[in-house]
Symmetry: C2
Subunit: 217 residues, 2 copies
């Protein structure tokens, strides 16, 4: 790891609720590794665009990919982007609307997207498959040149980044604790269900460990 802290800049400094902010790199990586999805924000012709997509981490870099024909990915190489990974952990029901909130863990990464080419690009795609489903890459029909060409892989360092999170129960105004109002938390989680084999799987094929043991979080 480059260092233990993420970089605080005008973009990443959380001013409003500093108690919910962190620049701890380890914590950021735990969050990023807990869910495969992210949202990426792009600027095209001055206007904001947003798209959900897979993300994966390799060391101190975060990666995402898509079709080479995507207008987002065509415009992204070399451009500033913002990427957010978020886990929604629950509703926090306070005694007032104002103090009601969400429990969540969120990492935002700012940076200039770098487009990968050649061996580096193929290695990143392998890493993606094997981060999500360890060992699956070598079981798959190999990618051909046309597929590699049709795929764009982008990355950026996890450096100018910040963590924002909230945990725990409601925190109400002192005098509101005397009110006869139900307060509490409704937890929310993203969970994996029972795998569903494709009906065209060949007879006798074992369910791989990376499927049997798949888990989120």
């Amino acid at each position: 790891m480059t260092n233990n802290d993420l970089r605080v800049t005008d973009k990443t400094r959380l001013i409003r609720a500093p108690e919910r902010a962190s620049y701890d790199r380890k914590l950021a990586y735990e969050i990023i590794d807990s869910t495969p999805m992210c949202h990426v924000s792009y600027v095209i012709d001055g206007d904001p665009y947003i798209t959900p997509t897979f993300q994966w981490r390799q060391g101190d870099d975060i990666y995402w990919h898509g079709s080479s024909a995507s207008r987002f990915l065509r415009n992204a190489a070399g451009a500033n982007v913002a990427l957010n990974v978020m886990l929604f952990d629950g509703l926090v029901l306070a005694r007032s609307a104002y103090h009601s909130s969400a429990n969540f863990r969120s990492v935002t990464v700012f940076g200039r997207a770098v487009q990968l080419e050649g061996d580096e690009k193929l290695a990143a795609l392998q890493q993606f498959v094997d981060v999500l489903t360890p060992g699956r890459w070598e079981t798959l029909r190999p990618m051909n040149d046309q597929e590699i060409k049709a795929t764009t892989v982008l990355s950026m360092p996890i450096d100018e980044a910040s963590v924002k999170l909230r945990t725990g129960g409601p925190i109400d105004d002192d005098e509101d604790y005397e009110l006869p109002i139900w307060a509490g938390v409704i937890p929310v989680a993203q969970t994996a269900g029972e795998f569903a084999p494709d009906e065209r799987n060949l007879p006798g094929i074992d369910v791989p460990d990376h499927v049997r043991r798949f888990n989120l979080g």
Copy 2:
């Protein structure tokens, strides 16, 4: 409803995978109503920013809110924004990396954020609480002027918008179905767990129906 279709523009037209695109307003509303979280993308000084936040729908408009001190919300009124609501429904494991994918349902809304004031703002906040937890607003300690002032509510019409989604199992190249590779789907869902009452709730307080019956999706 203004009409049955969302508006197709250069921003919302999905070119790459038209079979995964929809402009059906009813479908968009079902997705928006299935999860309270969204991501909003802003442009400040030419750079992209992204933040996860609550969203709620009222008729043909989508709403979000936050601290009036937030730099995003201070800059958003009158500005172009992009908002995405996404449900991650599962991993699609194909026989090749290239055809592996995610099942998901996603709505992106583009528009100019309108900042609500006065009665309209308070009504929107009530709507937020009651959309998420029906009937809760009237049980809460009322918002005071300072809290209302400290809260910014934004909205925009759900008009220039599109749905993108994928469902079902893997779709492999014809010749790959003969390979001895396990393919299938691992479903993923966002679920609510058992509610946890705040330890400072007054004795004898009933659990409200909006807590007992809370569900996502």
